[in-house]
Amino acid sequence: MTAPHLPSAHLLEVKDLTVDFLSLGGAFRATNGVSFHVDAGETLVILGESGSGKSVSASAIMGLIDTPPGEICSGTITYRGKKLDDCGVEERRDLNGRKIAMIFQDPLSHLNPVYTIGWQLAEVFSAHGVATGAEARAKAIDILARVGIPEPEKRIDQYPHQFSGGQRQRIMIGMAIALHPEILIADEPTTALDVSVQAQILDLLKKLQAEDGLAIIMITHDLEVAASMADRVIVMNSGRIVEEGHARAVFENPQHSYTKTLINALPHADDTGGTGRRSTTDVGKPILEVKSLNKYYGLSSGFFAKNTQLHAVKDLSFTVAKGETVGIVGESGSGKSTVARVLLRLNDVSSGEALFHGRDIFKMDTRELLGFRRKVQMVFQDPYSSMNPRMTIFDIVSEPWRIHKDILEKSGWRDRVTELLGLVGLRPEHADRYPHQFSGGQRQRIAIARALACDPELIVCDEAVSALDVSVQVQVIDLLAQLRDRLGLAYIFITHDLPIVRHFADRIIVMKNGGIVEHAKTEEIFRNPQHAYTRQLMNATPRPKWEAASAPLPA
C-alpha cells in the first residue's frame, strides 16, 4: 500500500519487523516480517490469540523489548518519517509518553503500588520537563477530571489499591494522554474488566480520540471489542499477519481460514441455530436443591471499630437436575464464586440448606463429606495454579484414587488415566508430562479429566473457560457438552460472560450484589430479559463500529 523507498507518509509505520526471543530451548520467533501503519485519528486493531505476537509488535514500538532475551532481527519503525532505530537513547525515551503512549491490560499491577496516583501522574510532566511541583499537581487534577474520576482534588492523594479496576484503567489512560500524544497503544485495555466497565472504558477511548485526533493501535483477542473500535484490522497468528483490511470487510467477509475460525467461534455467530450445545438427554429429577442460601463475610475494619458484615450471597435458591446445566452469571463481586465455594464446603455457610440427593451438605460429617466430594467436582479458572507443578499429569489425574481408595485398584490406574485423557482429547503419552508443558486449553482439559476421575455427578465450573482464547473456549465447552450427554453429568457453570453460556446452559441465574436478579430458561433470558440489569449485561457486549449505536438488542 505504501511506496517502499520514500520516507513514509504515515504517522507511524512498522516495516518487516522480526523479533526473536532467546531461551534455553533456542530462539523463538515472536513476530515474523510484520508490517503495518497507522494515521492520525484512526484506530488500527491488532487481533490475535495469546502467543500470536501481537503484544511484541507494540512493545517494539515503545522500545520496551529487553535485549536479551529479545532480539530485533530485522525491520524498521518510522515515526513521522524518522527511523526510531536511529534515535539515541535519550531521544527515544523522550518520545515515550510525549508522542507515543501506551496502556496495559492489568492496571493494578501496572501502577506503582507505593506512590499516590497524583505523584504518578505528575511524573509524566516532570519526566519530560513540562511542569513540576504545584503546577504538575494542578495538571494532574485536570487529567483525573478529564478521564472521569469523581472528586479529583480529593482522590489525587490516594493510592492505586484504593480505586476500582475501571478507575485504575481510567488513571492509566490519563497518564497516557497527559501530554497529548499522537499515538496511543492500548494492549488488551479491557480484558481484566467487567463487561459494563469495559463499555465505559471503550467509550472513553473513543471520546479522547475524537477530541485529540489520536491514532490508536489497539491490541486485543476479543472480536467484539475489536469490531467496536476498529477502522482497520490486522489479524495475527503465530507471529505473522494472516489478514488485514477495513474492519467491516474483515468481519463480514473473512478471507483467511484462521480469521474464519475466530469469527465462527463467536458465541452468537450461529444465532439462529439456538440450542447446539444444550443437553440432549432428558433432564431428570433434581440432584441438588439449594434453599435460602446466605453467606456473610465479616469485615474487620480495625482494632476498636465494630465489625461490618458483607452479605455476599442473599437468600439464594435453585435446583440442579441430572444432565442439566445451570449457568450462574454475574460481574465481579456479585457473589457467584462464593456460591461455588460454599456449596463445596470450601467456605462455611451462614444459613440455608443444600440437599444433595436429599442429604444436607452443610450437616454432613467428615466421612459423609468425603463421599460427597467424590460426587461433586470443581474446575477452576486458572488450571495452572490449581495443579501442583511437580506432579506429572498421571499423578494429577490419579490423585483422587489415592484419596478415595475404593474407586479403583492401583493396577488399573494407568489404563484408566489413558482412557480419561482420551475422553478429553489428549494422548496417552501426555500422562508423563508436567503441567507447564501444556497450553492453557490443554491444561483445562487435564483439569476436566481430573474431575472425571471420581465419576462425579455434578461438576462446578468456576470461570472455567474465561482465561482461554475464544477458539479454545468453544472447544472446551463442546467437550463439556459431549461429556454431559455421554455420562449424564450435571454442571453449575459460573461465568461473567453472558453470551458464552447461551448455547450451553439450560437455565441461567443472573446475580448482582449477592442476590438473584433473574432466573429463567436460557431462551427466555435472551429473548425477553425481564430485568434492567440483565439487559445491561447483554447490551454491554460492544456493538460493531459500523452498525448504528441504536441497533436493537440481539434477539
Binding site: 515503545m62 522500545g63 520496551l64 525515551r93 523522550d94 518520545l95 515515550n96 509518553g97 510525549r98 503512549a101 501506551m102 496495559f104 492489568d106 499491577s109 501496572h110 501502577l111 506503582n112 503500588p113 507505593v114 506512590y115 499516590t116 511524573e123 509524566v124 519526566a127 519530560h128 493510592y159 489499591h161 484504593q162 492509566m172 497518564m175 497516557a176 480495625g302 482494632f303 476498636f304
Partner: protein, 307 residues
C-alpha cells in the same frame, strides 16, 4: 497508629516477662557465686555468711519475688563484680554498643542498596559479577576470623591501627569494619534479588512507557518497592548486631554490652546478667516496632490496613 504501637508493646511485654523468668533460673544454673568471689582458702562459714548476706540462701521463690519486684522498679541489685548498681553498669555500656551497631548498620545498608541496585540494573555485567562474588564472600566470612586477621594485618603487621580498646577515632575502624562486613554482604544479595524482580515488574514497564529516566526508574520506582524485604532482613541483622557484638567486642576489648554480658556470665554476676539481658531485649523490641512503623511508612497498603 497509636493503637497499633500499644498492641505490639503488649505482645512484646509478654515475651520480655518470659525472658526475665528464663534468665533468672538459667543464670542460677551456672554455679555458686560464693566460690568465685571469696578467696580460694575461705572457710565454709565465710561462704555461708557471703551467701546469706547476698540473699542466695533464701528459698528460690523468695529470691524470684525479690527479683521481680526489683525489675518492676528497674533495680536489678548490685553487680557483685563491680560493686555498683547493675543497671547503672549496663546502661553505661549500652550506648557504646549502640554507637557501633548504628554506624555499622547504616554503612551496610547504604552501601548494600547502592551496590545491589547497580548490580541489578545490569545483571551479569562485570560489576554485577564482582559485586555478587564479593558480597557472598562478605556474608560467609566468620567475624571472629576476619577480626583476628585484621588485627594481624593492620595492627601487628602494618602497625597502622590499635589492636583494641577505645579512645581515638582509629580505634573505631576495625570493629566497625568487621561488624559491617556480614550485613553488607547479605543485604547486597537481598537488594540485588528484589531489585531484579522489581525491575521486571509491570509498573516499571509503565514507567518506561511514560518516558521516565532510567535512574529514576531504578532508584524511585523499583527501589522503593524492593525495600520491604530488605528492611525485614536488615531488622534481623540489626538485632543480631546488638546481640552478637559479643564476639567482636570481646576481641577488640570494646566496653559495650556484649563484652559486659560475657564478663557477667563468666563471673556469675546474676544481677548484671539480668540487667544486660533485659536491656538487649528491650532494644530489640524497640527495633521491631520501628521496623513495623517503617513498613507502614513505605507501603501504603499496609498503612491503610493497620488503621
Amino acid at each position: 497508629m497509636f493503637g497499633f504501637i500499644l498492641r505490639r508493646s503488649a505482645q512484646s511485654l509478654i515475651a520480655v516477662i518470659g525472658l526475665l523468668v528464663l534468665v533468672f533460673f538459667l543464670s542460677r544454673l551456672t554455679g555458686d557465686p560464693a566460690y568465685l568471689y571469696l578467696p580460694l582458702d575461705s572457710s565454709e562459714a565465710q561462704r555461708q555468711a557471703f551467701s546469706e548476706a547476698q540473699g542466695f540462701n533464701d528459698p528460690l521463690y523468695l529470691q524470684f519475688g525479690r527479683y521481680l519486684l526489683g525489675v518492676a522498679n528497674l533495680d536489678f541489685g548490685t553487680a557483685l563484680s563491680r560493686n555498683r548498681p547493675a543497671m547503672e553498669v549496663a546502661l553505661e555500656a549500652f550506648p557504646q554498643t549502640l554507637k557501633l551497631a548504628v554506624i555499622a548498620m547504616s554503612l551496610a545498608l547504604v552501601f548494600a542498596v547502592v551496590v545491589g541496585s547497580l548490580a541489578a540494573a545490569k545483571p551479569d555485567s562485570l560489576f554485577d559479577r564482582i559485586a555478587s562474588t564479593a558480597s557472598l564472600a562478605g556474608a560467609s566470612a566468620p567475624d571472629f576470623w576476619v577480626a583476628i586477621v585484621a588485627i594481624l594485618v593492620f595492627s601487628v603487621g602494618l602497625g597502622l591501627l590499635p589492636t583494641s580498646g577505645t579512645g581515638t577515632p582509629l580505634h573505631w575502624i576495625m570493629p566497625i569494619f568487621v561488624l559491617t562486613l556480614r550485613p553488607f554482604g547479605l543485604l547486597v544479595q537481598v537488594v540485588r534479588g528484589t531489585m531484579i524482580s522489581a525491575l521486571a515488574s509491570p509498573y516499571v514497564k509503565t514507567a518506561r512507557a511514560k518516558g521516565v529516566q532510567r535512574t529514576q526508574i531504578i532508584f524511585r520506582h523499583a527501589l522503593r518497592n524492593s525495600l520491604l524485604p530488605v528492611i525485614t532482613v536488615a531488622g534481623d541483622l540489626a538485632a543480631s548486631l546488638v546481640n552478637g557484638a559479643v564476639v567482636v567486642e570481646s576481641i577488640f576489648g570494646w566496653p559495650g554490652i556484649g563484652k559486659l554480658m560475657i564478663d557477667a556470665i563468666v563471673r556469675r554476676d546474676f544481677a548484671l546478667i539480668q540487667a544486660t539481658v533485659l536491656i538487649t531485649a528491650v532494644a530489640i523490641f524497640v527495633l521491631n516496632i520501628l521496623i513495623d512503623l517503617l513498613y507502614a511508612r513505605l507501603d501504603p497498603r499496609i498503612r491503610f490496613q493497620a488503621k
